[in-house]
């Protein structure tokens, strides 16, 4: 293990940017966006420098650590503020800072008309810092700080336009659902400490194979809950669609490329836990599979371009989680899909932002159409992303997604078949809804109002899109040629159980996947390109479409099962506190008062009744003597 003193700058630079911009206030309005971008870019520079240093070192010395200071030290509970940069985190560091910087650049132009642009950049920098802390922390507790930090940044950014009540509600919903996930992470940390006496990654890895499987399963499930919260996985997926209330660059950065993939990071980072807890691992796979179908189905019905993309994100992360749940063979593919997805999805979101930018912030795809002519660059970059997500060779998605499908089939037995088929169907549906997005947005006839004047975005916006498009084209090949990423990550994962039994040859899987994609595309074409698309969503649709439009009833379910009973409980408790507990207290007071006023009747002012009372008292006294002196 190498130590370094420069890791902290990765986090400190964007953090300093955020603090400066937030404390500086209006004074920094003029140059705030430039500072924010510069901080993010310099962090990217540090990341690249670290990568080069890492490449220089032999494999076993590649991980770098830095201890900043002693954070918490109570009894056996010792946590240092320590950073760890290894082969896994460097991928994330570069993705976060790289894509992050591009999105900073994009936002300079995208947010140029917003008077709070400086604040936006402050939040973005805060997010970058928190996300870096998340991937760089060397213990679960440090990760937790970043984990909630990105939740906070996400909350602030979703609610950036919080003067609109719906947006404010969306941000609150995201934070609260994330907190449920955070609770899972808390439990995982507690279990780790209670069973292994440590919460650092290294410590847990060292002790994991001694610990009881029950404890590890519990920890694994809790980590899965955490991942589900952060990565919008079933059953905590409901917030992601609403999170699109944030400015589009935020959706691109946080809710597509980086933060939502933190769950995948957490599961791959905790590989030593899941490898020893098959039940938890199986649950991971199930959650991934459900979510990938769930997201895909929602995606087919959404008319809001950002929500369609969000559903797609959910589905793609489902793929990653599924891969991560497949054990050592899947981790690398999960990460690879994560990286390629980071490129193409961020690119597409920025494309969507570009379209909205030209269309007066209209998000309804049914009001688009024939934009290809007006926004050629956006069309091309979006199109490249589209091909990538479909998994058309040789674009990035082909490499990463095919690997996952293949690995799923190879999981063995009925599990393998089910997972394989699920991923294949998912690929087909993905192809369907992405094609639908393409057709509705860029081809066909124009359906927008006359007051919209679609135009291509300025270079500050299309440049990042272009860079991301290049990434969507090439990253898959680069990462997988010769198993580059696999080998790079190999030392981290316990790969001893290498069971290379192929159920299907890779080429067969690819062929099947491409066939499914072709079917999906064909259906979309027949449904949207060959017939006129109405500019309002048709009402006479099947019940399935209606359900899908309502996000498969996820909000209704949450409302009915959690929110309403919760509200009822709150109301009941508030009333009970007033009536029962405070009532009991006031009752004591009332009793004293009423007994007082009852006794007051005795004080009628007549001497003779007082005398009678004295007599009664004397009787009591003598009676007592009578009883006592037997």
């Amino acid at each position: 293990m190498t130590t370094s003193s420069s890791l902290v700058y990765l986090i400190a630079l964007p953090l300093a940017g955020a603090v400066l911009l937030l404390l500086g206030g209006r004074r920094t309005d003029k140059w705030g966006h430039l500072l924010g971008t510069a901080m993010s870019a310099s962090s990217f520079g540090v990341g690249l420098y670290q990568l080069m240093l890492m490449l220089d070192r032999p494999t076993e010395q590649r991980p770098v650590s830095q201890k900043l200071f002693e954070w918490i030290n109570v009894g056996e509970f010792k946590v240092d503020a320590g950073l760890l940069l290894d082969q896994l985190s460097i991928c994330f560091v570069l993705l976060i800072t790289g894509v992050g910087t591009l999105i900073h650049i994009y936002s300079i132009s995208y947010m140029s008309h917003d008077k709070d642009r400086r604040r936006f950049f402050a939040y973005l920098n805060l997010f970058i810092a928190a996300m870096l802390l998340l991937v760089l922390g060397d213990s679960y507790l440090n990760l937790y700080v970043g984990w909630e930090g990105v939740g906070l940044a996400s909350y602030l950014l979703i609610g950036f336009w919080n003067q609109k009540p719906a947006y404010a509600t969306a941000s609150k919903k995201a934070f609260v659902m994330n907190r449920i996930g955070d609770m899972g992470l808390s439990f995982a940390i507690m279990i780790a400490f209670a069973t292994m006496g440590t919460v650092s990654f290294a410590g847990v890895q060292e002790h994991a194979h001694h610990a009881s499987e029950a404890a590890l399963t519990g920890m694994g499930i809790m980590l899965l809950v955490a991942a589900a919260g952060k990565s919008a996985q079933f059953p905590l997926q409901a917030w992601l669609g609403d999170a699109m209330a944030g400015p589009t660059p935020v959706s691109a950065l946080i809710h597509a490329a980086t933060m939502v993939t933190a769950g995948v990071y957490l599961i791959t980072r905790s590989n030593f836990v899941f490898d020893a807890a098959p039940t938890a691992q199986l649950l991971v796979v199930i959650v991934g599979a459900i979510t990938l179908m769930f997201g895909a189905l929602i995606g087919t019905a959404k008319d809001d371009i950002k929500k369609a993309l969000a559903a797609s994100t959910m589905s793609q992360i489902g793929y990653m989680i599924l891969a991560a749940g497949l054990g050592p063979v899947g981790y690398a593919f999960a990460i690879m899909h994560l990286l390629t997805h980071g490129f193409f999805k961020a690119g597409m979101f920025l494309g969507a932002g570009s379209v909205m930018h030209g269309m007066n912030d209209e998000v309804n795809m049914r009001k688009y159409g024939a934009l290809r002519k007006f926004m050629p660059i956006t069309f091309v970059t979006f199109g490249l992303g589209y091909l990538a997500i479909l998994g058309v060779p040789p674009f990035a998605g082909f490499y990463s997604k095919d690997m996952i499908i293949e690995t799923a089939f190879n999981a063995g037995g009925a599990k393998g078949i089910i997972l394989g088929v699920t991923t294949l169907i998912g690929a087909a549906i993905t192809a369907f809804y992405m094609t639908r997005v393409m057709i509705l947005t860029f081809t066909g006839t124009k359906r927008w109002d006359d007051n919209a004047h679609p135009h291509e975005s300025p270079w500050l916006m299309w440049l990042p899109m272009a860079v991301l498009a290049i990434g969507s084209v090439s990253s898959g090949y680069l990462l997988s040629s010769g198993g580059a990423l696999e080998n790079w990550l190999h030392p981290l994962f316990d790969h001893h159980a290498e069971h290379e039994h192929h159920l299907l040859e890779p080429i067969v899987v690819s062929a099947m996947a491409l066939t499914m994609v072709a079917i999906g595309v064909a259906i979309a074409f027949s449904k949207y390109a060959r017939q006129e698309v109405s500019s309002v969503a048709p009402e006479n649709v099947s019940i399935f479409t209606k359900i899908a439009r309502q996000d498969l009833m996820q909000d209704r379910f949450n409302e009915a099962v959690f929110m309403r009973p919760g509200q009822a409980l709150t109301t009941t408790l508030v009333a009970a506190d007033e009536v029962v507990i405070d009532g009991a207290v006031r009752g004591v007071g009332q009793a004293a008062m009423s007994s007082g006023s009852a006794l007051r009747g005795l004080q009628n002012g007549y001497v003779r009744s007082y005398a009678a009372l004295i007599l009664v008292g004397a009787i009591a006294l003598i009676g007592a003597i009578w009883v006592v002196v037997q």
């Binding site: 009628n604 001497v607 003779r608 005398a611 004397a618």
Partner: protein
């Protein structure tokens, strides 16, 4: 002759006096009942003195008489004063304690 008999009669007189205090409204009668109670007590004292064979009880009765005399003097003065202002000797009319 059992000296305890005097004690029984003393108890009876005391009780009667107590009832009188409660049931009679005329302040003067109430006072007389109080005197009756004091006298009953005195009878007990005297009896105890006899039982114990010393004069302490009688001395005590003597003191009681003095105190009773004081009480009568003051009490009657009060009754006269009340009567002067309220034209009534009924204790119920002087129910000022309540207000």
């Amino acid at each position: 002759m059992n000296a305890a008999n005097y004690l029984y009669i003393s108890a009876l007189l005391f009780t009667i006096g107590a009832v009188g205090v409660v049931v009679r409204r005329n302040a003067i009668v109430v006072f007389m009942c109080i005197e009756l109670m004091l006298n009953a007590a005195n009878l007990s004292f005297v009896t105890f003195s006899r039982i114990n064979g010393n004069l302490d009880g009688q001395v005590m009765a003597f003191f009681t008489m003095v105190v009773a005399a004081c009480e009568v003097v003051v009490g009657l003065a009060i009754i006269v004063t009340i009567y002067r202002s309220r034209r009534s000797a009924s204790v119920d009319d002087a129910s000022l304690l309540k207000r």
